[in-house]
Amino acid sequence: GIQVEQSPPDLILQEGANSTLRCNFSDSVNNLQWFHQNPWGQLINLFYIPSGTKQNGRLSATTVATERYSLLYISSSQTTDSGVYFCAVEEAGTYKYIFGTGTRLKVLA
């Protein structure tokens, strides 16, 4: 099956710093999503981004499907950005999402 690796596994930032999170996947996929899991366990949809670049406020994402990776950019980080960020890829033809290993982000005031 598809392998989905995220890096870095852990990241500590000072408030106001910028960061880039990476998601690599091992095979062709139909779609890719980025999620933020808050401390209460809720998964928040950030981006649905099978290819190209999207921006939403301080967050943006880029997926290069032909090279099997996606990047999530967080600018001017805030303490509320803390939590775990997951990418998930849709296995071609199945509608099933396979989750990456996650990046645990902590933003310090």
Partner: protein, 114 residues
């Protein structure tokens, strides 16, 4: 988008007992799924909930342990049977509406088995 409600949101259960988790979606959806997230880990797909028929389980998950029902397009249940402390996890319901294949998730059920 789909709004997904799960209940209970959390529970503490005795080993050997069973817990049924409910998932209700606010609109008709094409696909529904159940995931497990063990402490400190990523999400793992348990099964696809099929309307009116048996669920399709992923490798490592069996119907006797995780029976799933989906009687209609908007509702599904997952039962965690004969629980042990190793079943302590967050269980999440997911749905895809079919307009595109964006997945949405319920708030999760945090299960602790003692």
């Amino acid at each position: 988008s789909a709004v997904i409600s799960q209940k209970p949101s959390r529970d503490i259960c005795q080993r050997g007992t069973s817990l049924t988790i409910q998932c209700q979606v606010d609109s008709q959806v094409t696909m529904m799924f159940w995931y497990r997230q063990q402490p400190g880990q990523s999400l793992t797909l348990i099964a696809t909930a099929n309307q009116g028929s048996e669920a399709t389980y992923e490798s490592g998950f069996v119907i006797d342990k995780f029976p799933i029902s989906r009687p209609n397009l908007t509702f599904s249940t997952l039962t965690v049977s004969n629980m042990s402390p190793e079943d302590s996890s967050i269980y999440l319901c997911s749905a895809i509406s079919g307009l595109n294949t964006e997945a949405f998730f319920g708030q999760g059920t945090r299960l602790t088995v003692v």
